[in-house]
Symmetry: D2
Subunit: 419 residues, 4 copies
C-alpha cells in the first residue's frame, strides 16, 4: 500500500523532556533560532553552575531550561486565550521568543562568574544585545519579542509572563532545579498555577482559589534558595572559582603567561567595561564562544601552575577538596579574620596578599517575596484584586518579604587544626 507522504515532510519537532514528557517546537522561526549557534551555546552552560558538587543530578543546562520555559509559555497562552484574553499569533510568537531568549546572555557558570568576567554588565543586558543581533540576522522578525522583553509593548501582561514574580522563567526553573537536584520539596505544580492565571486590566492575576498554590510556590522558592541555590558547599565551590579567576587575571596582569582557551584568555586579559561590550562587535562575538568548557578546561590546566596560590585553588576545585565553611547571622569579626590570615600565611608560606585568596568572607541574602510594583495579585469572585501579602487569613506572606541575610566565611580545611 502506498501513501502520499507530503504531510510527513513538514513535521513538527518534538523534544523529550523528563519533566513535561514532550516539548513541541512550533513554528519555523522558533526552530531556526534554536538551531543558531548563539542558542546552541546554552547547551554548554549549566543552569546551576557548580551545584552538582552537592546534588550530582544538577547538570541541566540553560538550553533545557529555555525550552522548558517556552513550553510553559505555550500552555499559558492557551489558558489565557480560553478565558477570553486576546493574544494574536504575532504576539504569541513574540512572547515565546522573548522567554526562549531571556537567558541567552548568560556566561559560563551562570551567576557565579557574572561580576568577575565582565564588570558592570548583567546578563539581561547581554541577552538584549544578542536578541538585537539575532533580529538583524532574521530580518527584524524579533522586534516584537524585544519590545515585550523590554516592557515597551502596550500589552504589558505579556512582559509579566516573561519577567515577574510568577513568570514562566521561575515556574520552569523551580520545577527543573528541584527535579534534577532531587530536592522534591521544591517541586511546584506549574500546571495548576498556570490554570489559575487570568488577565485583568492588562495585568496578570491569580484567581483567589489559587491562593494556597501560590503560597506554596513562594515557600518552595524559599526552600530552594536556602537548600540549593545558597547551599553552603555550593557557595564555597563558587567562591573558590571566583578567586581562581581573580588570581588568574592578576597573574596575567603581571605579565605571566597562563594557558587558556582563546575566548577565555580574551576575557582574562582584557578589562571589559559596559561601554566597550556594547560599542564593538568584537566582545560580543568572543563572548558568544565562551562556555563552561573554556573555564573548566583552563582551570584544569592551572592545577600544575607554578603560582602556588593558583595551583592550590585549582586543585581544591577540580579534585573537590572543598573548604571549611561557617554560616552565621552576624558578620564574622575582624580579629578572627586577621588571626586566620596570619595562620594561613604561616601554614602555607604565603604573603599577606596571597593569603587573602584563601579566606572568603561574604554574605548572601534572599527574600522569598517582594511586594511593591511587581506584586502577585489575587482576583476574588467579586472582582477585587488583593496583593497576596495582604490577603486575609494568609500565612503572613508579608513576613516572607523581609530580606534574610546570612554571613559566611570559608578557608582550607588544613587551617582547622591550627585554629
Amino acid at each position: 500500500m502506498q501513501y502520499n507522504l507530503n504531510a510527513l515532510a513538514n513535521k513538527q519537532k518534538i523534544i523529550n523532556d523528563p519533566i513535561y514528557g514532550f516539548i513541541t517546537i512550533s513554528g519555523n522561526l522558533v526552530f531556526d533560532i534554536i538551531e543558531h549557534p548563539y542558542f546552541q551555546r546554552l547547551r554548554r552552560i549549566k543552569q546551576l553552575g557548580l551545584t552538582a558538587y552537592v546534588y550530582p543530578g544538577a547538570l541541566h543546562t540553560r538550553f533545557h531550561h529555555a525550552l522548558g520555559a517556552m513550553h510553559l509559555m505555550l500552555t499559558c497562552i492557551e489558558t489565557l486565550r480560553s478565558k477570553g484574553t486576546e493574544i494574536s499569533a504575532e504576539e504569541a510568537e513574540g512572547v515565546v521568543l522573548a522567554i526562549l531568549l531571556h537567558d541567552i546572555g548568560h556566561g559560563p557558570f551562570s551567576h557565579a562568574l557574572e561580576s568577575v568576567l565582565v564588570k558592570g554588565v548583567n546578563h539581561e543586558e547581554i541577552s538584549l544585545l544578542f536578541m538585537h543581533k539575532l533580529n538583524e540576522i532574521f530580518n527584524g522578525k524579533l522586534s516584537l519579542a524585544i519590545q515585550i522583553f523590554q516592557n515597551k509593548y502596550p500589552k504589558s501582561f505579556l512582559h509579566q509572563l516573561v519577567s515577574s514574580q510568577l513568570d514562566m522563567d521561575r515556574l520552569d526553573y523551580l520545577k527543573r532545579d528541584s527535579f534534577f537536584t532531587g530536592v522534591s520539596e521544591g517541586i511546584i505544580n506549574s500546571d495548576r498555577i498556570i490554570s489559575m492565571m487570568r488577565v485583568v486590566n492588562d495585568t496578570l492575576v491569580i484567581e483567589a482559589k489559587g491562593i494556597y498554590s501560590v503560597e506554596k510556590f513562594i515557600i518552595a522558592r524559599r526552600l530552594m534558595y536556602w537548600q540549593v541555590y545558597l547551599h553552603k558547599t555550593v557557595l564555597c565551590a563558587e567562591n573558590i572559582l571566583v578567586n581562581i579567576l581573580k588570581r588568574a587575571k592578576y597573574l596575567i596582569a603581571q605579565g605571566i603567561e597562563l594557558p587558556a582557551t582563546p575566548p577565555f584568555a580574551y576575557f582574562l586579559k582584557t578589562e571589559i567595561s559596559a561601554p566597550k561590550f556594547f560599542q564593538t562587535n568584537e566582545v560580543a562575538e568572543i563572548f558568544s564562544k565562551l562556555d563552561d568548557y573554556d573555564v573548566f578546561a583552563s582551570v584544569k590546566m592551572w592545577q600544575w601552575n607554578e603560582d602556588k596560590v593558583l595551583k592550590f585553588l585549582c586543585n581544591s576545585l577540580v579534585d573537590r577538596k572543598l573548604w571549611h565553611i561557617e554560616i552565621s547571622n552576624q558578620p564574622f569579626n575582624q580579629p578572627f579574620q586577621d588571626t586566620l590570615l596570619k595562620k594561613i600565611q604561616e601554614l602555607f608560606h604565603l604573603s599577606y596578599e596571597e593569603a587573602m585568596y584563601f579566606v572568603i568572607s561574604d554574605s548572601v541574602s534572599n527574600s522569598a517575596y517582594k511586594p511593591g510594583n511587581d506584586k502577585i495579585n489575587l482576583l476574588y469572585r467579586d472582582g477585587t484584586l488583593v496583593d497576596i501579602a495582604d490577603a486575609a487569613d494568609q500565612l503572613n506572606i508579608s513576613v516572607l518579604s523581609h530580606t534574610v541575610e546570612k554571613f559566611f566565611i570559608c578557608y582550607p580545611k588544613e587551617c582547622l587544626v591550627i585554629l
Copy 2:
C-alpha cells in the same frame, strides 16, 4: 536441577503500593492481625469519606493508610537505631502494632459521621477498645503496643512516633491523600523528614538542617486542609449525609420502618452512649461489622422513601446533585437564615422543622501548627532545642498557630432563584 525449597516456604509477605513501591509485612503477629476481620474491615472504610465527589481518585481506605504508616514506622525505627537510639525487638513490634491499629476504631465515612453514629465517643477510644479485644485474642501480645498507644510506656518518644505533630500517621496520610487526590502540592518528602529525626532526652526532635522540610510539611498540611479536607463541596456532601442520618434516626424514633442493613439499623435505632459502648460486648461486635457499604447501600434504598425530606436528601447525595454553598469569614446572619428557611418551606411545601434539614449552617476551623506541649523541636549542632515556631529567620510559623475559622451555609440550588 533440584533445590531444597524450605527457605521459600516462610517467605515474607510483600504488598504493592503505588506510593512506596512495596510494603513489607514482617513478623507473624503483624501478619495475623492484618488478616483479622477487625482489621480487614478497614478495607471498606474510605480514608476521605465523600472527598471522591471532588477528587475522583480519593478512594483509598483506612486499610491502605494503616499499612503505609506501618511502612514509615519501620523506616523510622531503622533510622533512629542507626543514630544510636536503642529500640528493642519487642519495642519495635509494639510501636509497629500501635501505628497499625491507631485507626481501627474508625466508623463508616471516617470523621463525617463520628459524632452522629455514636455520641460522645471518639474513634481513638474505640481503637483502644479494639486493641484490648485483639490483645485478648492474641494472648496479651499487644500489651506493649497498648501502653505505647496510651503513652504509658516509659520511652515516650515511641508514643510520639504514633501520635504527635510529626507522627507516622500524619506523614502517611498527607502523602497518601495528596497522591490519590492528585493535589500534588500536598506531597511531602516523608523520607527526608524521617532521615532528619533523632531522639534526644526521650523526645523526638528534628535536626536543624531539616527546618525547611518541616516548614514545608506544615504548609502542605495547611494547603491540604483548605484545598481537600475542608473543600466546600466535600463539606456540603458530608453535611447532607449527616442530615440524612439525623432524619433517618428521627423517623425511626417516630416508629417508621426504614430498610437498612442490620448493623446500621442497630445504630440508627439505638442511642449509644459512651458507657453503653464500653460496658457490653454487643455494641463493639456490631460496630465491627459496620462500614461504608452499610451506610451507602441504605442511603440508596431511601431514595424512594415516602418521607420527602429523606428522599430529597438521599437523591441529592446519590445522584451528586450537591447544594449551593457559601463560605465567609463571619457567621451568616440570622435574618438571612430565617428568610431562607421561609422560602424553602414555600418552595418544597415543608414544615419549619422539615425545612431545617435543607439549610446547613456551621463553621470549620484549622490551625496548621499547634505550639505547646506537643511542639516540633529543632536540634541545633550545639545541642540546643528550639520550638520551630520560635526558630530564628523562620517564616513565622507562629502565625500559623492562629486558628482560622470559616463559616459556611449550604442549601439546595433550587433556592437560588427565589433568593
Copy 3:
C-alpha cells in the same frame, strides 16, 4: 479595583487526576452527560472488581477511567488535526461522547458478574442501550456518537479511536490500572503512542519510529494480564463471588427469602434474557440503580444466613479468607476433582450439590496481540503499511498472538489437610 466578572461565570470545569494532572471538561453537553445519574453511577463501580484484595490501591472506578479515556481522546484529536487529518467540531464531540460512554453499561464488579447477573447480554450492548436513552433525553445530540460507537459512521478511524487494539480505552486503562495497583511495569507512555498516531486512508496507523513503543505497549498489556487481571488470588475471590450469586439465585428460586437491596433483589429473582432486557424500560431502569454497593452490602448481610453454603461463601469473601488456588497448563483431571468433592462433603457435612459450590475449576486465556482485521499498522517513510506482527527485525509479535490458556482449581484451605 472592580472588574466585570461575566467571563468567570462560564468557566471550564477542571478535574484533578493523579495520572494526567488535570482533566478538562469542555462543552456543555459533555458536562451535562457527566452530571447525569446514569453516568454518576459509574462512580460506584470499581474498574477492577475485587482486585483490591491483592493490590489495595486498585479502588479506582469506571467513572474515573471514562474521564481519563476522554482526556486522551482530546489529546489525540489535537494531534491528528495537527498532522492534517480533518475532524470537525461535531465529529470531535461525537468521538468524545462515544469514548465517555463506552463503559456506561457495566454492571457491578465489572466483568466478574457480567454473565451471572444478566445472561447473554454483554456490557457493550447495554452501553449502547443507555446511549440511546441519553440520546432521547438530550434530543438526538448523541446520534453521531452512537454511529461512531457502532462503526456506522463513514470515517471509520473515529471508531478505531474508541475501539481497536490501540484505542483510548486501552491506553487509559493500562496506564490507570498499573498506576493504582502500583505494578509500575505496566505503565505505558500514552503520550508518546498518541504522538505517533496518524490517519492514512481512513485507518489509524502508527508511524514506524513508534515500533518500540507499540511493542512495549503489547508486552505491558501481557504483563498486566497475568500479573493483575488474571492474578490467581483475584480469580479466586471473583469466583467465590460468582458462586455466592449462583447460590443466592438458587435459594430464592426455592422460595427462600434473602435480604437484598431492591435493584439487586430484582436481578436475583428475575431471569433476564436479552430480549427482555431490551424490550421494556423496566429492566434498564432498575439496572441503572445497581452498583457495587448493592452487591457487597447484600453479601455482607448473608454472612449470617441459615444456609451454610451461602454463609460460608460470604464469610470467605467478606473477611478475605480466600481459598487455596492452583494453576496449571493442563486441565485438572476428573478423579482428583471427584476425590476433592467427596472430602469436602465429609468435612463440611454437605450434599454433593452443595459441595459443588466449594470447588471452582475453570480456565482463563489471553493473547497479547490479535492480528487480523483489527491489526496494528506501522507506517514507513516510504508510505508502506505493515502489520506490526510482520515488521522486520521485530520481536516476533506473532508469537504473542497465540492464545495462552491456564487452568485453575480452587477450594477452601481447610481441605488442604485432608488431601
Copy 4:
C-alpha cells in the same frame, strides 16, 4: 537545653538522587574512595556521551551512575540476606566497592572514543588497573573487591551482581538513562527485580513469579538500544567526533601543531599500545586527568584551525550542524559511496583522502538477550531452574537472542542537493 552531640559527629553521608530519593554512603573506606580524585574524575565523564544532542536531559555522569549502582547493590545484599544467603560484612564491602569502581576506567565520552584514544585496551582493563592502584593507596583493602570483579572469588554469585545480564550496573543504567532522557518506556522496576532475586547453588536466579518483570526488562533494554544508545543522530555526532580525533592525530603526525589541553595532547601525540599502558605509571596517571572537558574544549579551539577538514568537522559538532544519516538493513553499495566521495571532493574542493572524513559508513548491532553461560535462570517452586529463553508460554525470548545489525551512512547535508 544541652545535649551531648558526639553521636552527630560521625554521621552518615546522604546524597540526593532524583531517582532513588537518597543514596546512603556507609562506611569510611567507601567514603574515602568516593573522595579520591580518580573517582571524582567520573563527575566529568557523561554517561551517554553526545546523547544530549538528541535528549537534552541526558547529561548525567559515570559518577552518578556508579553511586546509583552501589545503592542498588546495598538493597540487593539486604534482600539476599533476608532470604538466607550468607554475605559477610567483608564480602558486602567488597561487592559494593567492585560495583562502585566497575566504570572507573572509562575515558572521555565513554564508549564513543574508547577505540580511538587507546587502541586495544578496553575500559574494563583500565578499571582493573585503577582498582589495583587504589588498592595500593588503601593498603590492600580492595583485594576482595578485585577478586570479585575478576570472578576469582569462590562465591561467584557476587561477581554476577557486578557483571551479568541482570547485574546492578544494568539495573541502574537502564533506569537512569531512561529517567534522564525522558524515554519513560525504558524505565524498569529495579526494586521488583531485586526483590525476586535469590541465590541457588552459588548462582543468582530469579523466582519464577518474576518472569514478566524480567521479560519486560529485556524488552526495555532492547527499546533503549534502538531508541537511545544507537539513535541515528547520536551515532552521527559520535562518528563526527571520532573523525575529528582521527584527523587531529593525522595532522599532529604530520608535524602540525594543534592546541589541546595537556593530557589530551599526550594521547593525540602518542600511540598507546596495551603493553605500554600497563607497563609504566605514566600513561595511567595522565589518563586519570583526562575527561570530557579536555576533549570538547580542544575541539572548540579547532573550529578556527587552518585545516579545512578539521575545521569543518569541529564546526559541525560544536554548532550541532549534524549530517544527514541513512539507516538500512543492508550495507550501502560501493558505487553509491564512490559517487558520494567524488561529489564531496568537488563540492568542498578536497582530495580523495580528505573527502574520506566526510563520509561515515559503518554498522551497529545488538541482541537484547544472550543465552549461554551468562543466561538468566528462573527458579520454579519445585526447585527447577530454567533459562528464561526456554520458559514455557514465554514470549519467545529466544527470538531476542538473534543479533540485529543495522548499516548506516552519513555525510554533510550540503551533499543532499548534489545527489
